[in-house]
């Protein structure tokens, strides 16, 4: 399935943009997505932590992603 991944903060720099179109296999989990991202963009592994948000909520590792989900990479937040 074709998905768009949003990236913010340092993740945007690692990705080279605030949106990345990725072709993912159907039924991929958040854990599998993280593995793919880390192999394509090894700099992600150097982050202190990061989360995947799906439809504006932090997602558990075993969540299965759908084609219409809004998926975002959330590096450590630093508001305030």
């Amino acid at each position: 399935m074709k998905t768009t991944i949003l990236a913010f903060g340092i993740a945007k720099e690692i990705f080279g943009g605030s949106k990345k179109e990725l072709e993912l296999k159907d039924g991929i989990t958040v854990r599998e997505l993280k593995n793919e991202l880390e192999s394509f963009f090894p700099a992600i592994k150097k982050l202190h932590t990061y989360l995947i948000a799906v439809n504006d909520d932090c997602a558990e590792d075993d969540l299965i992603l759908g084609a219409n989900d809004e998926i975002a990479i959330i590096p450590p937040v630093s508001g305030g």
């Binding site: 913010f8 903060g9 945007k12 720099e13 909520d57 959330i74 508001g79 305030g80």
Partner: protein
Amino acid sequence: MIDLKISDEPLDAAACIAKATEAECGGVAVFIGTVRNKTKERRVVRLEYECYMSMALKEMKKIADDAIGLWKIKNILIYHRTGILHIGETAVIIAVNAPHREAAFDACRYAIDTLKKTVPIWKKEVFEDGEEWVSAHA
């Protein structure tokens, strides 16, 4: 009343406080976060904030709902600025109005502590000799 906003307009502390204050509640606790001129002795030139708007507003709403539920406060306002901020400018204002000032203080503190942990807003510190996304690396 819950009043949440994220925008690149400058924040007006007096207006925020007035909005949060109600004639029935005598005390307002406020936290104001401003841009510091240095981090670990390194001179800061400016900060650049960005946010994931839809999720940030959703997380702010959770904070506000929790604060109202936990401390029976009346009003909470959380405004955060994005974009380029210079030294001394205000990045965040949280104002909490409650019948009892203890509740206002507790809720205001909870709100800023939680905002810094859960709301997807990021700042990049720009120094004279480089730049860095805050907290990105351990």
